[in-house]
């Protein structure tokens, strides 16, 4: 048992380990020293008596969790049982804020990328205005020209999507490796799920094809001789 | 012909282009003198080296061998920067396809070489107006090239070529893109220019343009086959 008095010297304790943690992302605005010790010793040290702040309960499965929660709450007086998943939601306000921030940045980046993509597609298709003019003068229909440019844009977007997924996966792994080391936590900072991949691929395909379509339509609506600059 | 020093003196010009195993000899030892106030037409079949010769005479290209002196200055030895400056101040170019800057007005096209030469804005504007008036295009000074006919564009190109009062006007197929009527107008303009003191060398297929010149040089297969003064 560890004894200590506020203004005197107490017992000598053996420090088991000192761990220095850098700022933890779950405690962005707070920081404190932590001591982990035997329950009964802490209870005695702080005069808590026979009290604890909470119990952690492990169950066999999720059905057992539901039954146990109901059972405890029926019999409880002065305390309540909560599912860990519910508490996680309640206490992860910090993560929610960061997550919303990331989402906002993501949306802005997507909008920016869409503008860039349209710009560059317009430029690259515009570069070939004379080729397009020559084809149309030869008798190739506007529709055929449009389809060929859109097909090209689709292929580029498809290859780009695949490459992008690869780059994203590699970057995600790098981010996790880095921040896990910095914050010494098993938390994942970036998770790539199938729906995230699907969303990214579909979005880039749609944007790429749309950009190619608009760029091509600009050219095919203009008379070939005007494209030649006459 | 005058006794004044030659405007142009080319000796033994050769220009080879590497093409596979054996090079193509575009020019095979061309020598040519042009005196002040001469109007020389260089004629010959396609591929005989006329345009290649013009590029060498105008310091746009470098000969494989031989020398080119313009107003006594050996231009084949000039660095790229020096040659550019030399062209700006001493040589005027007129191209078959006009090559006006489509984003500039007629007047601005004429001002362009003067601006590069550092001429003050007021002075170059006045000179541009004067030159456009000379070629009959004063009312069209504010028009863009796309708003001008082929003949009008070529007139603007001629005005531009004269902007810095060059010693020599070099023209590459100036009537090549023009119809017969407009071509005839151009021929008349060239004669007026020459009469007013411009030394002109023209490369052309156009027989009428060649006929208007004071001297005709025939080329074939990279060589001069005849050099005949007219009249």
């Amino acid at each position: 048992m560890v004894r200590a008095t506020p203004t005197g010297v107490g017992d000598t304790v053996i420090v088991g380990a000192i761990v220095r943690r850098s700022a933890d992302p779950s405690e962005v605005a707070r920081g404190e020293y932590r001591v982990v010790m035997h329950l009964d010793q802490l209870q005695t040290l702080i005069g808590y008596g026979d009290r604890v702040d909470r119990f952690g309960v492990a169950t066999r499965d999720s059905a057992a969790t539901v039954r146990a929660t109901a059972l405890i709450n029926d019999a409880a007086f002065g305390f309540a049982a909560h599912r860990s998943s519910d508490i996680a939601v309640e206490t992860s306000q910090t993560f929610l804020v960061v997550s919303r921030f990331h989402r906002a940045i993501g949306v802005i980046t997507i909008v920016a990328s869409a503008v860039f993509l349209l710009c560059i597609m317009l430029l690259k298709v515009d570069e070939r205005r004379r080729d397009v003019a020559a084809l149309r003068l030869m008798g190739i229909s506007s529709a055929t020209v449009l389809k060929s440019i859109v097909l090209e844009a689709t292929l580029v977007a498809a290859v780009g999507s695949v490459l992008g997924v690869g780059i994203g996966a590699a970057t995600s792994a790098l981010v996790n490796a880095h921040y896990r080391g910095v914050y010494r936590t098993p938390l994942a900072f970036s998770i790539i799920t199938p729906d995230v991949v699907a969303f990214a691929v579909v979005l880039s395909l749609v944007l790429g094809v749309a950009a190619g379509f608009f760029a091509a339509r600009r050219l095919t609506r203009v008379h070939p001789l005007v494209l030649f600059g006459r | 012909m005058t006794d004044a020093p030659l405007v142009l003196r080319a000796r033994d010009l050769r220009r080879d282009y590497p093409m596979g195993e054996s090079p193509v000899h575009a020019l095979q030892g061309i020598s040519l003198d042009v005196a002040p106030l001469e109007y020389v037409a260089i004629v010959g079949p396609s591929g005989c080296g006329k345009s290649t010769l013009l590029n060498l005479l105008g310091a746009i290209d470098r000969p494989t061998a031989g020398t080119v002196h313009i107003q006594g200055k050996p231009v084949e030895q000039l660095s790229d920067r020096e040659a550019t400056r030399f062209r700006l101040l001493h040589i005027g170019f007129v191209f078959q396809r006009f090559y006006l800057m489509p984003a500039l007005s007629a007047a601005e096209n004429v001002e362009l070489p003067m601006a590069e030469a550092g001429v003050a804005k007021a002075a170059r504007r006045a000179r541009a107006r004067e030159l456009l008036d000379y070629v009959g295009l004063a009312p069209r000074a504010a028009h863009r090239p796309t708003q001008l006919s082929g003949g009008e564009q070529q007139r603007v190109a001629i005005a531009r070529a004269l902007a810095n009062r060059p010693a020599l006007l070099l023209c590459d197929e100036p009537t090549g893109e023009l119809d017969a009527h407009t071509g005839a107008e151009m021929i008349a303009l060239f004669q007026r220019l020459n009469a007013d003191g411009t030394t002109i060398v023209v490369v052309t297929h156009d027989e009428q343009l060649a006929a208007a010149a004071g001297r005709v040089v025939h080329m074939k297969d990279g060589r001069i086959v005849s050099d005949t003064p007219r009249g």
Partner: protein, 394 residues
């Protein structure tokens, strides 16, 4: 003439130019936001710390102010010690706690701050008057709204709450004498401020504790030497200067600085890529024109200058547009991050300073110059005769 040519070239392809300007604007907006983010938190926090002129804060040993529930005991003796130091002009003690306002249908939990109204630095009075008597309180607007009370009303406030028995203890009637803006609390706080001794009595505090001392120094006093004196004279406390607090903030929010740097670099790179592509395509379309210009005697340097001017004009136009866009998005993003739990509401993550705009503009202008150099040099270096022939054939 260079400017004329550049202007004419840009206005020839209006849609393309407009789209490029929009693209650069988006890039510029994001860059501006990231520049603001990288320094905003720190500067905002600094302003917050310095707002009432308190240069040093003393917290329980090893903690930051209000980071934990730890307190500094025997505070009255420590205050006397501090006041004896000639460099210390004002000592403001602060005690934090939680109280429960009793209403007809239940209770409202509120953060309580015990202060000395003569020297307090935690709130700025808004309506009514400041605290005078032992039972006076000033409250936040959010607490008024939550309790349905008004200035002049009396509240039943309890200091103790037994969660098991659901009973309150140490209830006291307190009079709302005014409302105030509480400087260091998170957004929409339910806060009330009272005399220090009143809060101690209500929380049955033993050994006259405080959570924090704030010290105002005399003009010219060195905060570092006072900090060191405190460390020696009062080893039970940690003295934190504004600089030390800022360092802590920097460390805790380093993630956002890193994010700002990465996103800022990426947006700059993308903006540069966009303008480079535009200029390259523009030059490629005009190889014939460029060759003619060189043929008639326009120098390579003039041609490069003209092309670079195009790049710079797009960058500058986009930057001006991006400035407005960036301020709007910064406001939106700031609103998201302001909801960080535990962070004072007065902290801005995105703080606009004119310096930030100049930095962004400078970076973009340099990018605009760089974007034009290579394509322009390439275009102007092609052999004239060959280019003329190829362009004629084309």
């Amino acid at each position: 003439m260079i400017l004329t040519l550049a202007r004419a070239s840009l206005s020839r392809r209006r849609t393309r130019t407009a789209l490029a300007v929009v693209g650069v604007a988006v890039s510029a907006a994001l860059l501006l936001d990231m520049v603001m983010l990288s320094s905003g938190m720190r500067e905002s926090f600094r302003s917050l710390l310095e707002v009432r002129g308190f240069a040093l804060r003393l917290a329980p040993k090893g903690t930051l102010p209000f980071d934990t529930e730890a307190t500094i005991d025997s505070a009255d003796a420590i205050m006397a010690q501090l006041r004896a130091n000639p460099d210390i002009v004002t000592v403001s003690p602060v005690l934090g706690g939680q109280l429960h306002v009793q209403l007809a249908g239940g209770s409202v939990a509120a953060v309580a701050i015990g202060i000395d109204p003569a020297v307090q630095g935690d709130y700025e009075p808004r309506a009514g008057r400041d605290i005078r008597d032992a039972d006076d309180i000033v409250v936040s607007d959010a607490l008024l709204a939550a309790t349905g009370a008004h200035v002049g009303d009396t509240l039943r406030v309890a200091g103790g709450y037994d969660a098991q028995l659901r009973t309150v203890t140490r209830e006291r009637r307190l009079a709302i004498v005014g409302t105030a803006h509480f400087i260091y609390t998170p957004a929409n706080p339910k806060v009330l401020a009272m005399r220090l001794h009143t809060l101690r009595a209500m929380t049955a505090a033993q050994r006259d504790p405080v959570s924090l001392f704030m010290l105002r120094l005399r003009p010219g006093a060195d905060a570092d030497s006072v900090e060191q004196w405190v460390s020696r004279a009062i080893p039970r406390v940690t003295a934190i200067s504004t600089a030390a607090a800022l360092r802590q903030v920097d460390e805790r929010l380093s993630y956002f600085r890193q994010l700002a740097f990465i996103l800022g670099s990426v947006s700059l790179a993308v903006g540069l890529l966009l303008v480079t592509t535009l200029v390259t395509v523009s030059v490629n379309e005009r190889l014939g024109e460029i060759a003619v210009m060189r043929a008639i005697g326009v120098s390579t340097r003039s041609i490069i200058a003209q092309v670079m001017v195009e790049g710079v004009v797009i960058m500058l136009a986009g930057s001006v547009l991006g400035l407005g866009l960036g301020l709007v998005t910064a406001h939106y993003l700031n609103g998201i991050l302001a909801e960080f739990p535990g962070l004072p509401a007065a902290i801005d993550f995105f703080l606009f300073e004119p310096r930030d705009a100049w930095v962004s503009l400078g970076l973009l202008a340099v990018s605009g110059v760089l974007a034009g150099i290579y394509p322009a040099w390439r275009g102007a270096s092609l052999p004239i005769a060959v280019t003329l022939r190829e362009e004629a054939v084309a």
